[in-house]
């Protein structure tokens, strides 16, 4: 048991975990570019950064799920390498992932002790001991859960407690929590914080990843900000305020990629009016208007429900509540076919699994949503298809060997252009783009921005979901920010800047900011 630090200066007590200059790249993309971070015993260390900053990769490196390309890991004073999550666990490192590593059809006690040799001498499960120890662990966490109940029957908050109990069943030296309050809130979150403080006081080192800045101020002792795989800085929470944190997270100058901002002479006509949309667990009642010729960005942290909202508008996910008003009618149910007929197009986030037919060529993919344009008497009009494809290749500057090149062989940027071409020719009212420049090189990005602008100028209402703040600021006429399934706020015109967006997305409050209602 280690004693708690007295709070003066950074890293009181022994540094339990020290990552030094960790680098990791996946498929040629540098995700971590030399991160160093120290987590001390008896302290809660926050890790913040925007989407794609590298937080989850860092966690995976720490937990032994992936191996760093270079850099060293020091644990408990000695340099270590772990080849598997099991090894990391044996050193006392436990992670509570956002997606719980649980089995819904096994009981709480079984989940907690799965694979644990201590309650299964000679292979035989000692259920009495398992139940008893499970009860004790859960009691220590202050929750009343019957350990013989199947995990699938528990509420999400209780499931999270089971995850924590799992960690606690071993001697924990370092506990990492990845966005724990993404699935719980309010009172349950408070209870969680109480537990975490208890653990901290017992000498456990805790790394707490969250984008909810108010939580960090409530709970954590230190905070490290990372951005684009690089460390921006580590501070004592007591020595920063929210505005500073937000600046650290975003501070970047705008690249010159974006077409010049446009001016609207008169307020544009509303083309789509979505009222109180709810769908599944992720979208809890959002209202949104999309206007002709306007580029509206939908911003927010991962998990805030943006993709689900877009899918609901398009009919890709069921509409549990609310209505969509378009073309003079109001709809309480939507399907992709209906949406397309109404003039809505959706460029999905996952182009490989939900967008392209990877085994087909450019022409087939470009015409996939407009088959009626290449059909003559039920047969494919290959000439028309070729014409459409060639036009698309020229207009969108798609780099390929020709319309019959398989899309699987193309770069991400060009694949995205193919999808853009598909939808731009089909959508006549609304075009929804979900992360249009993800995995796209800079040159293609510029092209895609230009195309978006052209489409808007032609009168389309564009809804762009993006996690790249510079892109949002550069392209959007209007920004709608989502948080936890609801619309947190809207920004218009000159009010759009990265800090304002981040503030709304993370529930930080900044007095000096004008926020459009």
């Amino acid at each position: 048991m280690r004693t708690r630090g007295d709070g003066n200066g950074l890293l009181q007590g022994n540094g339990v975990l020290e990552l030094m200059d960790i680098r990791k790249s996946f498929g040629g993309i540098d995700v971590l570019k030399g991160i160093s971070i120290k987590a001390a015993a008896g302290r809660i260390h926050a890790l913040v950064g925007e989407n794609g900053a590298g937080k989850s990769t860092l966690i995976k490196v720490t937990a032994g799920v992936v191996q760093p390309d270079s850099g060293s890991i020091g644990f408990d004073g000695a340099e270590r390498r772990w080849r598997s999550p099991g090894e990391a666990k044996s050193f006392g490192i436990h992670v509570i992932y956002q997606e719980f590593v649980q089995f819904p059809d096994l009981s709480v006690a079984e989940n907690i002790f799965l694979g644990d040799k201590r309650v299964s001498p000679g292979g035989l499960l000692n259920r009495r001991v398992m139940l008893q120890q499970a009860r004790e662990l859960l009691a220590k966490l202050g929750v009343e859960i019957d350990p013989s109940v199947l995990v699938g029957e528990l509420s999400v908050a209780d499931q999270q407690m089971v995850e924590i109990a799992k960690a606690l069943s071993h001697e924990v030296k370092l506990l990492i929590l990845d966005e724990p309050t993404a699935v719980i809130s309010g009172r349950e979150a408070e209870l969680l914080f109480v537990k975490l403080r208890q653990l901290r006081d017992e000498g456990v080192a805790i790394i707490y990843v969250s984008h909810r800045l108010e939580e960090i101020f409530e709970l954590c002792d230190d905070v490290t900000v990372i951005k684009d795989g690089e460390p921006i800085g580590t501070r004592l929470v007591a020595e920063v305020d929210q505005a500073t944190l937000v600046s650290m997270m975003v501070g970047r100058r705008l690249a010159d990629l974006y077409p010049p901002r446009r001016r609207f002479d008169k307020p544009p006509v509303t083309v789509l009016n979505a009222s109180d949309i709810s769908s599944g667990a992720r979208v809890k009642g959002c209202s949104l208007q999309l206007r002709q010729g306007e580029i509206t960005a939908l911003a927010g942290m991962i998990g805030s429900g943006r993709t689900e909202l877009a899918m609901a508008l398009f009919g890709g996910l069921p509409l549990d509540g609310g209505s969509i008003e378009i073309d003079g009618s109001s709809f309480h149910r939507m399907t992709p076919a209906k949406a397309i007929a109404l003039g809505i197009g959706l460029l999905t986030e996952d182009r490989k699994n939900e967008g392209l037919a990877m085994q087909l060529d450019v022409a087939a993919n470009v015409t996939a949503a407009s088959l009626e344009d290449v059909t003559r008497n039920g047969l494919l009009d290959k000439a028309a298809e070729a014409r459409i494809a060639e036009t698309a290749i020229a207009d969108y500057r798609i780099a390929c060997r020709g319309a019959s090149m398989p899309v699987a062989q193309m770069s991400g940027g060009n694949q995205q252009k193919v999808l853009l071409a598909r939808w731009a020719r089909k959508a006549r009212r609304v075009l929804i783009l979900d992360e249009p420049t993800r995995g796209v090189d800079v040159g293609a990005k510029a092209d895609i921005y230009r195309m978006m602008q052209d489409a808007a100028n032609r009168g389309l209402a564009i809804l762009m979901i993006s996690s790249e703040l510079p892109e949002v600021v550069g392209m959007a006429d209007r920004v709608v920010v989502m948080r936890d399934g609801l619309i947190a706020g809207e920004l218009q015109g000159a009010d759009i800047d990265e800090r304002a967006i981040m503030t709304l997305a993370t529930r930080a409050h900044d007095a000096g900011l004008k926020v459009a209602a």
Binding site: P85, V101, Q102, D105, E110, L114, L124, L150, G280, P318
Partner: protein, 332 residues
């Protein structure tokens, strides 16, 4: 096989958190089977007096051994989210090998039986290894090995092979303390396996791997070892079924296993084990076995030809599988 398509209905159900409580579903299923079983007994007793005789029921119990043993192995494989389509061919092969190698010589029995069991274990293990090494879905692997095994069987003998001495009958016909030896042994085996699955650490691994293989690997569980083991076990079960068949008929025949493949899956799905894996158990399968055996028996007494029995079996499978679309309809 390929992943299930994104199913809006399933997405809707899981997104809403709309799930019937898991254990209720499990018990519900078992209860349904028990009710069906009792109903069948009742209806049968009323409709046919030959059916309701104790001697008949004992006969059914006795003759359920073959189906029970092979369904046991299939249950465990399905629990991991896989399937073994090679069992029918393996039974054919091992049964002709048994009677062919013993060929009437009682002194050979011990060695041959041991060899057959080991061979079943080995072939099953090979299925598991191929699945892992080649990265091919067990459905395809066992479809292929099943074909190859049937070919090997026919190469060894295109007709019944050899024979076994009368002492070999004991498995199928013998009695111990008035109870049918084979059937009671089978019941005990089921109980043991049920215990192993629920009461040992490694047994829980089976459910974990079937429930979420990625999570299992993330937790550091020996996923590959589990997979090879369950297929080896299925092969072992095929071996014991082959021994039973030879014991029952006195000889092994090359096409004897033909119907066993689908027949081994029916009791599993009736008994509540999900094809997607991770949920279910062997006792449900046993109940399913008794249900199918009694059903066939009753149909025989009602003079409904065995052909219709096939029809009914197919229909039952369809109903059983489609009536309860599991939570994991869209796992990919």
């Amino acid at each position: 096989m390929s992943a299930a398509t994104l199913n809006p209905a399933a997405a809707k159900a899981s997104a809403k958190g709309l799930r019937r409580p898991a254990s209720l579903q499990g018990h519900e299923r078992l209860a349904t089977v028990v009710v069906l079983l009792l109903t069948l007994l009742l209806v049968g007793a009323l409709v046919s007096d030959r059916f309701r005789s104790l001697g008949n029921l004992q006969n059914v119990y006795e003759q359920s051994v073959g189906l029970a043993l092979i369904s046991l192995g299939q249950t465990v494989v399905i629990l991991t989210g896989g399937i073994d389509l090679s069992v029918g061919s393996l039974i054919s092969l091992l049964s002709v090998l048994t009677s062919g190698l013993i060929d009437g010589h009682p002194e050979r029995i011990t060695d041959v039986v041991a060899g057959i069991l080991l061979l079943g274990l080995a072939v099953g293990g090979l299925n598991g290894l191929l699945t892992i090494w080649l990265g091919v879905h067990p459905l395809i692997v066992t479809l292929g090995t099943g074909a190859a095994l049937q070919g090997l069987t026919l190469l060894y003998s295109s007709d019944s092979a050899g024979s076994v001495p009368p002492s070999f009958e004991f498995f199928a016909y013998g009695r111990v303390l008035g109870m049918p030896a084979g059937a009671t042994l089978t019941l005990l085996v089921f109980l043991v396996v049920a215990f192993l699955l629920r009461g040992t650490r490694q047994g829980r691994y089976v459910f974990a791997v079937g429930g979420d293989p990625n999570a299992a690997t993330l937790l550091g569980l020996p996923t590959r070892r589990v997979l090879v083991s369950v297929y080896a076990f299925s092969g072992l079960c095929a071996a014991t079924t082959a021994l039973y068949v030879v014991s029952r008929f006195g000889v092994g025949q090359p096409y004897t296993g033909a119907n066993y493949t689908l027949a081994s899956i029916t009791p599993v799905v009736i008994g509540g084990t999900l094809l997607a894996g991770g949920k279910g158990g062997v006792m449900g399968t046993l109940l399913g076995v008794y249900l199918m055996a009694l059903l066939n028996n009753l149909l025989n007494f009602l003079d409904i030809s065995s052909h219709y029995q096939l029809v009914i079996q197919g229909v039952i499978v369809i109903v059983a599988v489609s009536a309860f679309t599991g939570r994991r309809a869209r796992r990919s």
